[in-house]
Symmetry: C4
């Protein structure tokens, strides 16, 4: 196998589409958002490309005994009343620093091939504590994009995210900007300890306004309710521990 192999699964004509990326990351926010988007707009979407790479982990997933080689998928979504979308999803980031550059370049190549010149990277920004009001924090490749995002409620903060943005989301900003894409990263606040469907909803609601599509959130809210139950149990456990000893954030860190 070559370092990168792109399978053209289908060809679809899109009108000025926007690349929307949601790979695994903080709180799985980006992946949850993109998976929900594809689920809700299933009728309008077509799998157009599969990207296989030696930069992905050497493994297959198995469902009902059928194996699938690790890959990233790009779906074309023709939204009747809004902008066309190219939705990027997958189960893995690259496995090396170098690989992140290689894969992000490939994703931008495919986006360009379909006529895209705009990209949104979706993800989470960790706050370290449980959240009531889910703000969406933004980062953009260049100043000109900031006003539009602020209008729909995206917050721009002086030093956030403090450690920058790492991985494919970060490079979509960095490499996208270098190629002349209009790129933005939308990061839902999330504790960083748990899979966070509420944060994913907050990000999607911003995207809905920007790109004029329309989603139902029932299934995502159900997942959020399940997580609420988990959080409730953790808080109970915490309170019990608190009566015995000082609790720490580490108790939560590896859950979800």
């Amino acid at each position: 196998m070559d370092e990168l192999e792109i399978d053209a699964v289908a060809e679809v004509q899109l009108d000025d589409p926007v690349l929307v990326e949601g790979l695994p990351g903080v709180g799985h926010v980006g992946k949850l958002a993109v998976d929900h988007l594809l689920e809700e707009l299933e009728g309008e979407s077509t799998l157009v490309r599969r990207l296989y790479s030696r930069e992905f982990p050497p493994q297959v997933t198995v469902e009902d005994g059928i194996s699938e080689l690790t890959c990233a998928e790009i779906h074309a979504v023709s939204v009747p009343e809004g902008r066309d979308l190219l939705v990027l999803t997958g189960d893995h980031q690259a496995q090396t620093n170098d690989g992140h550059y290689l894969l992000t370049t490939a994703f931008l190549d495919v986006a360009e091939e379909f006529g895209a010149s705009e990209a949104f990277a979706l993800g989470g920004v960790p706050t370290g504590e449980l959240i009531d009001e889910y703000a969406v924090v933004g980062a953009v490749g260049n100043e000109s994009l900031r006003d539009d995002l602020e209008e729909v409620g995206v917050e721009f903060r002086e030093d956030e995210p403090a450690g920058g943005i790492v991985g494919i989301s970060g490079l979509l900003l960095g490499l996208g900007e270098r190629r002349g894409f209009d790129v933005a990263c939308l990061m839902g606040e999330t504790s960083g300890y748990l899979v966070d469907p509420k944060s994913a909803r907050a990000v999607l609601e911003v995207l809905e306004e920007l790109l004029a599509f329309d989603l139902d959130y029932e299934t995502l809210d159900e997942r959020a309710d399940e997580m609420e139950d988990v959080i409730g149990k953790i808080q109970e456990m915490e309170q019990q521990q608190q009566q015995q000893q000082m609790p720490t954030d580490d108790d939560l860190r590896y859950i979800g």
Copy 2:
């Protein structure tokens, strides 16, 4: 040395052979199975290829003072009453993610060169506890292969193996399927803590029925008895500890 060097040790004419892989992995099930297969069918087998690679660890094994550079070996086995086999064995997986892709591609190249279009990857699936009845769990590259395997007792389970299949066995499925091979992985249940000759026998018995060869299991059963003794001693030790403190799985983890 090049990234990959394939030594053609011998040429053998095979009729529609099946690639059978057994490299080190969970419970050494795959390697035990393949080594036993080669031992029992020694009269009918010929070493045909040695594969050296910079992706293997930089080392030699030494036996009676003679060194052997790390490599993988492919043996041709002409089974009189059954299917011809290409048996892949070796002491190491690749040392990098990238290397797994490179080596698996090379193995499939050799298999194709000998006319193979079918492959079985043998391995173990960890259960976390000692086992009485050794089931064999299957995974296939495409649906059409499932019925034949279920007929000989292979089990297909909704979400197993949970973490997918990693390494060369996983990629034989993933890359083999992409090249049009009929590929399956046969995984013997095993605790995951110990070298498991019984699990290897369970896997080989499935393969015997599928490919119509016939093995004697005396030496493998002897190894299984030796392991039983080891397990007996561990259980004794555990019981002694249990009277003093709570035992943990970690007591077993690194044995074997």
Copy 3:
């Protein structure tokens, strides 16, 4: 993206310039020194090159919501009364051994392109204890450079730094010397536990004498005062602990 991409941001004519490198390292001495140099000589400096590489971590920094892809920058500084400078700064070393060779080679290529044949790598040398008098320790690519440096107070010691010089500073010496550059490394003594603006000042004062430029140290001294406060608090904590238990260096190690 290629393994290395060099953006020519501006062209400037320099007269026999000297490359001055200050990337992150022990006590951040080199980076503090170079950043202060660029701040103070802002009126005379021009950003001439940005170097992007797959050897840098795959990330963007974000300031006020605007992302910047990780890179190294080279600034041309035309010092009226002294030598022209090419100042190399950035937020990261390379991420692999191999990458250090690649990036250092690129930095020397750019320096040569601007006519440089001399280089100073700035850094810190860890002493393991808090420091009163900041000596500057030197290392040179060849003997002929030693006298000039000793004249301005640089100390050459039999076995220091004991572990050699690692990373891009080390390779600027090693690879620079191989290409015929006159290369020296100036290392300010520093505890190794804390960001050390005083050590950076000691290094800059040596460089001032050597290259005949003239800096104001007000802002650097302010940062030094801030660090003094931090050190004061640590020492207080230490004394309190000492009354309870033996203190260790580890208490300080990860601060700053």
Copy 4:
């Protein structure tokens, strides 16, 4: 810099020379042996090649303020009464698996260029306990070399070294044999805990007989005496601890 750069420092005509390798490893036995060999035969030796590589750590050593880029050196030694030697020394193994293959191939290339078709890799084999009688254990690329080595006291053992031979010594056997070199590895027994000049002497004495050169051991014996003092102190400390608690091998492991 390229992945590999070989500097031809001098040209020397050798008659059927033998490559002798001694890079850092178990007990530093190989490196001690080769450094002593070069010291004692200094009058007859010439540095002929320096090998620089991106596979070496990115660093310089510094002695008296002068930096030296990490490299491996090959010295030609014209022994009047014995076989000519090509002596390979350096401060580092390769930093990656892949790099070991690359560097060993380069070393064999240089050896071939000087007409060598024979190689000895020198090293230590860890026994886990302090040693009185220093046996030298052998491994050879092919059977035909065993008799000559057994005649001068080298021991060949069924399963030793148990884990095979790792690194450049191992690959000199493995890759050397593949290229038609007569290759052997001579491993002095050593505890594995300490730098071991006595083990180095044992290995050199075997080599003296095989290749007919003649060394004085005064300086090596002095280093051995220094180590004896260290061992004496450790044993004292051990005995003191033993009166307090059970001693462990770990007390020794990281010394030297």
